[in-house]
């Protein structure tokens, strides 16, 4: 199975189809252009772990 944003979005939309209050929409694919956004960075991919100083 190829995991991509369309697949995840489709699956989520299907699971929320009985709840009219929820509407999963992808507003913009380019975060830089989005006015306000938040994004979880995959730390495994950027090699930026929690820094522990004792």
């Amino acid at each position: 199975m190829i995991a991509n944003k369309e697949y995840i979005t489709k699956k989520l939309q299907d699971s929320f189809k009985n709840n009219s209050a929820i509407s999963i929409k992808v507003k913009s694919a380019n975060l830089k252009e989005a006015s306000n956004f938040s994004k979880v960075i995959n730390s495994n991919k950027v090699n930026l772990r929690k820094l522990i100083i004792k």
Partner: protein, 385 residues
């Protein structure tokens, strides 16, 4: 040294106990002798007084003198033993006095040792406390110097702020307190900070959120978890709790609701991060409700909930300086037994999201290297001391 002294003291105590037992035995012997000898002496004196001296010597003393033991008159033996007894008594009295003095000296010495040990412990504690304080101050200095140096040499970073956070459970809620610790900003940059903020979530809700994150992490790390299973877990979580927001009047929306909404966003962001795709999602059908929930500043709290690297942006109008397009990246740091977060600010018109992550990674490495260097130097100095 102190231990040897204590052992010597213990040996002395043992000797003293043995002597005391001997003394008690002698005391008993003395009592028996007194009970026998005194009536015998009084009896002889009575005989002497009641009768003429000649009769006493002839009839009684000669009678006594005729008793022999190994050719020696018994009375002489008794006389000799009495003299010896007196001599022993005098010598024992002297010994007793000396033992008493030794006992007193020993008690004094033990007290002195105890006092010295107590003082030594107090000094050690004080020394350790001071050492820890000095170490903490030095660490603070190194962290501040590293961030400052990084900021001077990296013009694309506008500011770096340090926040600490603590969490507490109360009345089925988990309450997180965020405090500003320190901050460094580039010249001509207006930057605001959150001096203190509180965010709370229901414990049952928070626990389910953590379960979702763990499931997503399992999918991301080993691939053994099926993606459909992960999506189902996330959608079930959102479906269960979304009515907390959608059933509410917009005017009744509070920071607590914004926290709840932030958790949903965070869960979805985390899910999409497994495929590392840039997305800007909207969840709710009601745009007005969504705007109201987005009006609260919960991003720093989001990053704390996530315990991972997190990015967010703000577009803000400033009457004096125009529009600010700011990009923020936050990463966790466990420092001096406190949970902290470093928050880096960038101008989003000049720095891309990828570049911001790369610059954050560079600061992460600089701090780590500076502190590792300091630990090594400190270790060498400690070993040499």
């Amino acid at each position: 040294m102190i231990k040897n002294n204590i052992m010597l003291g213990e040996q002395k105590n043992y000797d003293i106990i043995t002597l005391v037992i001997i003394m008690k035995k002698i005391k008993n012997l003395k009592l028996i002798s007194t009970l026998v000898l005194v009536p015998a002496g009084i009896f002889i004196l009575e005989l002497w007084v009641e009768h003429d001296s000649d009769i006493f010597y002839r009839d009684f003393l000669s009678w006594i003198l005729k008793w022999h033991f190994m050719h020696v008159p018994v009375i002489y033996i008794i006389f000799f033993i009495s003299i010896m007894y007196l001599i022993i008594q005098f010598s024992l009295a002297e010994k007793k006095e000396k033992i008493s003095q030794i006992e007193n000296t020993n008690t004094e010495l033990l007290n002195k040792i105890n006092n010295l040990e107590e003082k030594q412990n107090n000094y050690a504690k004080l020394l350790w406390k001071n050492h820890k304080e000095l170490t903490g101050i030095k660490q603070d200095e190194i962290l501040a110097e590293t961030i400052h140096k990084y900021l001077v040499n990296t013009p694309k970073v506008q500011a770096v702020q340090i926040y600490k956070h603590t969490s507490q459970y109360f009345n089925n809620h988990i309450k997180t307190k965020i405090n500003y610790v320190n901050g460094f900003a580039d010249e001509n940059v207006n930057i605001n900070s959150i001096t203190q903020a509180y965010h709370k979530l229901e414990v049952i809700f928070y626990d389910e959120f953590k379960e979702c994150i763990n499931t997503i992490n399992s999918f991301g790390s080993d691939g053994n978890v099926d993606l459909d299973e992960v999506i189902n877990t996330v959608s079930k979580f959102i479906n269960t709790y979304i009515s907390k927001l959608t059933d509410k009047d917009i005017d009744d929306i509070t920071l607590d609701d914004a926290n709840t909404y932030a958790v949903f966003n965070l869960t979805l962001d985390k899910l999409y991060s497994t495929i590392d795709d840039d997305l800007n999602l909207s969840i709710l059908d009601n745009q007005e409700l969504q705007d109201k929930l987005n009006s609260y500043k919960v991003e720093l709290f989001n990053s704390i909930l996530l315990e991972d690297i997190y990015m967010f942006s703000y577009e803000k109008e400033d009457s004096s300086q125009g529009k600010h397009n700011r990009l923020y990246v936050s990463f966790p740091i466990e420092y001096s037994d406190e949970q902290q977060r470093l928050l880096l600010s960038f101008d989003s018109t000049t720095v891309s999201t990828e570049e911001a992550v790369s610059l954050t990674s560079s600061l992460h490495s600089s701090i780590e290297n500076s502190l590792v260097k300091w630990y090594n130097v400190n270790k060498i100095l400690e070993e040499g001391a």
